[in-house]
């Protein structure tokens, strides 16, 4: 090596170090946001069809808007956005939340409660200035429901007539079907773009099913079945390109998603009305998808640009609330088709229809939202720039809040909750949310088959103590299965902690007089520190207050689910997060033989009341029926409610328009900063 290089080396190294350092500290400056909030984990996607989870919810409701939008009941503003009236909180600090018209101006409901006719708001636009019409909803919902979209929350649209069948790809002979040819411009696009034609399904020919080997896993069996299904041949009355005619089938055609070797005409075939057509094609043609015909058979239609007609399978009283929920938001067809999936969600490409658009997005840092001037209600949106910060650690978020970097924190560390509640600013108000922690009791096993004993177990449980000393997260002791906070619904309550009453109930039990004492009870829970701590405390309470011996059994998650499902337990811990904001999601699971009942409990009167509620056209009466049903449940206690989860929102006092609620719906477009 030449000495000159060697001598120059220290200077080269230093120069390199300095230039690296200069690069490392060079930052573009970012204008500050009007409002920054803690959005938790990184948003997985801003595609409303594919999103699920709270962080996604917060940004999607800011950027998109459904037919209706989330709105506190009784909150009114004038044209300029000055508040005219504010709702009153309930005794827990929660405000009632419902829905207000959004992209739709109004709707009408048919007599039978199944057909909604939405009238679109005149002049609503996408953020690129193009008009938003009822057709956008039809296209967006079709995309969400299409099997290849694989929308996790797609089932929120299954209330629509035929929607579930469409997603699951089930067809029956006699159905009108849509056949998509394998000519998509881009094969990876998960929505139909190839040539599609409609036809009537005349027959389904199924090849012989291959038996899975004895030792095959469930997944392998599923996979084998799926392959077998893809080889089915569908015989329809029109070929692609053939003119459609209602009267006379012109040309019989056969399609299959997966052409397998062999003579398909030897397959076991199911024909419409048992009639086999005279002539059949020798080989089936390959198709990309064969689904129930969306246009004719799924319950959403746009007769004109300003009218959307939605037909449901059954009366669904909470459907209007669902239209304000993000899986039912529209997406811009031109944008999705031009950029494809997932590039249409890039900030530069994304077209939205809500109060905000996305300016930029940095993974695990922030999503910057700016006010959408094309939004129909933009005059009443006060915050111009909003940062949704992807901060995972609750402690970090708290630090940022305390130093003024955030105005709203959505989760705080459990250990500091007592200190936060005591703050003079009164900026932390833990209010109950719609999630319940409870114990299932196996009513088919002695001694839990005795209602007096079950009541005694509930009365002997000091839930206040569990919330204050064990969970310590500000949770609230529960005395009903439906958590408080659903507008118009008042839960009947089960007995409160009372040792004397518990012993009196126990004395009435048939097991009290047994010579051998009361049989042992076992509490099953999935392996987790909190679940174990709670079970240990309850074990002590039942032992001390009732003299019942209790064993604890911890299982790993899947085994625990299995034990619960097969009812191989006597007492089992459980939790329930609602699918939709309606008491029914907590009530209908206890029907006789219901899939999530898992307690063996059955009550004919309860079943009748839940059925009456489902058929009741009057919304108030419907809630009364469900309250009556819950009263039975809270009297017979096949489950013991333990506590309601609480929201952990820490909100700066200068933020106005923030309404705590049990549904955790906080529309950012209502918020404003007042110093």
């Amino acid at each position: 090596m030449h000495p000159s290089i060697r001598n120059a080396f220290p200077y080269i190294a230093l120069a390199g170090l300095f230039s690296a350092l200069a690069w490392a500290v060079s930052f573009g400056t970012l204008p500050p946001a009007d409002f920054s909030f803690h959005n938790g984990d990184e948003v997985k996607t801003v595609d409303p069809a594919l999103a699920y989870g709270q962080p996604e919810h917060r940004v999607l409701t800011a950027m998109f808007e459904g037919l209706y939008r989330e709105w506190p009941i009784g909150y009114e503003m004038d044209e300029q956005g000055n508040v005219i009236s504010e709702p009153e909180p309930d005794e827990n600090g929660n405000y009632p939340v419902g829905s207000a018209p959004g992209m739709a101006e109004s709707h009408e409901l048919s007599e039978d409660g199944r057909v909604y006719t939405f009238h679109m708001r005149p002049g609503v636009k996408w953020s690129d200035g193009s008009p938003l019409t009822a057709h956008d909803f039809v296209w967006s919902w079709r995309r969400t429901l299409h099997p290849e979209t694989a929308a996790v929350y797609g089932y929120q649209l299954w209330y629509l007539l035929g929607a579930k069948k469409y997603t699951e790809g089930r067809v029956e002979v006699g159905d009108l079907v849509e056949i998509e040819m394998p000519n998509r411009p881009r094969a990876d696009q998960p929505f139909p773009r190839g040539d599609i034609h409609r036809a009537k399904l005349l027959g389904i020919a199924r090849p012989r099913e291959v038996r899975p080997p004895e030792n095959a896993s469930d997944e392998d069996k599923e996979a084998l079945k799926a392959t077998w299904r893809s080889g089915w041949v569908y015989i329809v009355d029109h070929a692609a390109g053939d003119t459609e005619s209602d009267s006379e089938p012109t040309k019989i055609a056969a399609y299959s998603k997966n052409i397998v070797a062999g003579d398909w005409q030897k397959y076991d075939t199911e024909w419409l009305d048992g009639k086999k057509p005279a002539s059949l094609p020798n080989k089936p043609e390959k198709c990309k998808q064969l689904l129930l015909d969306f246009e004719s058979s799924v319950g959403v239609k746009a007769p004109d640009a300003s009218t959307l007609v939605v037909t449901l399978e059954n009366r669904t009283p909470f459907f209007i609330d669902l239209t304000a929920f993000y899986p039912l938001y529209p997406v811009n067809r031109a944008c999705v088709e031009q950029y494809g999936n997932p590039n249409w969600t890039r900030p530069d490409n994304l077209v939205t229809n809500g109060a905000y658009t996305m300016e930029f997005r940095r993974v695990r840092d922030r999503m910057r939202l700016i006010k959408n001037p094309a939004y129909w209600d933009a005059d009443r949106v006060k915050l111009e720039i909003v940062d949704a910060m992807a901060v995972k650690s609750a402690t970090t978020a708290l630090n940022m809040y305390l130093t003024g970097q955030l105005e709203w924190v959505t989760d705080v560390p459990a250990s500091v909750i007592p200190d936060l509640i005591a703050r003079p600013e009164k900026d932390f108000i833990p209010t109950p949310v719609l999630i319940i922690y409870f114990y299932r009791l196996n009513t088919t096993r002695p001694p839990l088959d005795d209602v007096h004993l079950r009541r005694a177990l509930n009365l002997a449980m000091d839930k206040q103590l569990i919330c204050e000393k064990v969970t310590q997260g500000g949770q609230m002791p529960a005395r009903s299965i439906v958590p408080p906070g659903l507008p118009g619904y008042n839960s009947p309550l089960c007995g409160e902690f009372d040792v004397e009453a518990a012993r009196a109930e126990l004395a009435k039990s048939k097991y009290a007089k047994l010579p051998g004492g009361i049989p042992k009870i076992e509490i099953t829970y999935n392996d987790n520190d909190t679940h174990r701590a709670i079970a240990e405390v309850i074990q002590q309470m039942w032992k001390n207050n009732l003299g019942i011996n209790v064993d604890l059994k911890s299982l790993e998650w899947t085994s625990y689910l299995d034990a619960q499902h097969t009812m191989q337990y006597s007492v089992c811990r459980a939790g329930w997060v609602p699918d939709y904001p309606d008491a029914n999601t907590f009530i209908d699971m206890w029907l006789t033989g219901g899939g999530n009942n898992e307690t063996g409990w059955s009550n004919a009167k309860y079943d009748a009341l839940v059925k009456q509620a489902a058929e009741e056209p009057d919304p108030d009466e419907r809630l009364r029926r469900m309250e009556e049903a819950e009263a039975i449940l809270m009297d017979e206690l096949p489950i013991v409610p333990i506590y309601y989860y609480t929201g952990k929102n820490l909100v700066s006092p200068k933020v106005k328009g923030f309404f705590h609620n049990a549904l955790e719906k906080y529309p950012i477009q209502l918020m404003r900063i007042e110093e």
Partner: protein, 311 residues
């Protein structure tokens, strides 16, 4: 110079082989971990599960997936879409996270080198002085205290008491300082000890005595004659130090809410985001191999006794 080119060529060959082995091993390990990227508590219907898998090419035989994915990386430089952050491709995630991690790493390593060598030199030259004892105590503490403890203390003091720095976040110079100092602290400690030991050894050599005998001042002897030899152990330590700084940033990224790559590395693996995890492993492997090569080269530059072998 021919020696250097030959050395680099041979090194490049080994890098390619190493990368391939790392890729293959990671691919096999990852696919053999129980659970898949689309598992969730709410079980998806079989049809939907199948559709998702088909979209991400997961329904193909494992060997086909391996060659498809490897081919995409080699010929298009494309690591594929992220399974969990579905709006992004792995390349986009890396493109956003890498500058953050690199900024923080460069800052931390510069801090570690400057502070470490200076205090090491002072400690060696003024052996057994108050300076020596306090520097070496600080160095030992810096090595012993885990960086999340250091970060918590730093936040209490500098954010809440003195209010010099913001609590967390990314985007300005003030936001980078605290995490970089916490990240660099243990390495500064190591470098200080290495410099001190190296310096003490060199200072006892004959040529240093000769230099003093010629009447040179202490500053000149130390900076000009002793330092070069004393820094050799430090240079060889820089390779592993860079590795440590890059992978050790995970906890600090969480505490300071920094959008670096460390969190992706861990979460991609735990969420079975196969392409992202593979992308992360490959990026880290490349960085390590690159740093090691640089260290080997600079070693030869500093020490005349080290020859780059041409054979």
């Amino acid at each position: 110079m021919g020696g250097v080119v030959g050395f680099l060529l041979r090194r490049a060959c080994w890098v390619v082989i190493t990368l391939w082995i790392v890729y293959t091993a990671s691919f096999i390990l990852m696919r053999n971990v129980p659970g898949g990227p689309f598992d969730s508590e709410r079980k998806l219907p079989a049809e939907i599960q199948k559709n998702i898998e088909a979209r991400y090419n997961l329904d193909q035989p494992l060997l086909t997936q391996y060659f498809d994915h490897l081919g995409n990386i080699l010929f298009r430089g494309d690591f594929g879409p992220s399974f969990r952050m579905t709006d992004f491709t792995v390349n986009q995630v890396i493109a956003q996270g890498f500058p953050v991690s690199a900024s923080m790493g460069i800052f931390a390593i510069t801090f570690a080198i400057v502070l470490g060598t200076l205090s090491g030199i002072v400690s060696a030259v003024r052996r057994h002085s108050v300076w020596d004892v306090s520097f070496m105590t600080a160095a030992t503490l810096g090595i012993a205290v885990p960086n999340f403890v250091l970060a918590s203390l730093a936040i209490v003091v500098f954010v809440f008491q003195l209010q010099w720095f913001p609590a967390a976040g990314w985007g300005s110079l003030r936001q980078i300082i605290l995490p970089a100092l916490c990240l660099g602290a243990p390495y500064a400690g190591y470098i200080a000890r290495l410099t001190r030991t190296g310096m003490l050894e060199v200072l006892g050599r004959d040529y240093i005595r000769t230099a003093y005998a010629k009447g040179l001042g202490e500053r000149r002897v130390v900076m000009r004659h002793a330092l070069r030899g004393a820094l050799l152990p430090v240079v060889s330590y820089l390779g592993p130090a860079t590795a440590g700084i890059l992978t050790g940033s995970l906890v600090l990224e969480q505490i300071f809410a920094l959008p670096g790559m460390g969190s992706h590395f861990v979460e991609a693996a735990s969420q079975r985001d196969y392409p992202l995890a593979l992308g992360m492993v490959m990026i880290y492997t490349c960085l390590l191999l690159f740093m090691n090569t640089m260290v080997d080269l600079s070693y030869a530059m500093i020490d005349p006794r080290v020859k780059i072998e041409t054979q």
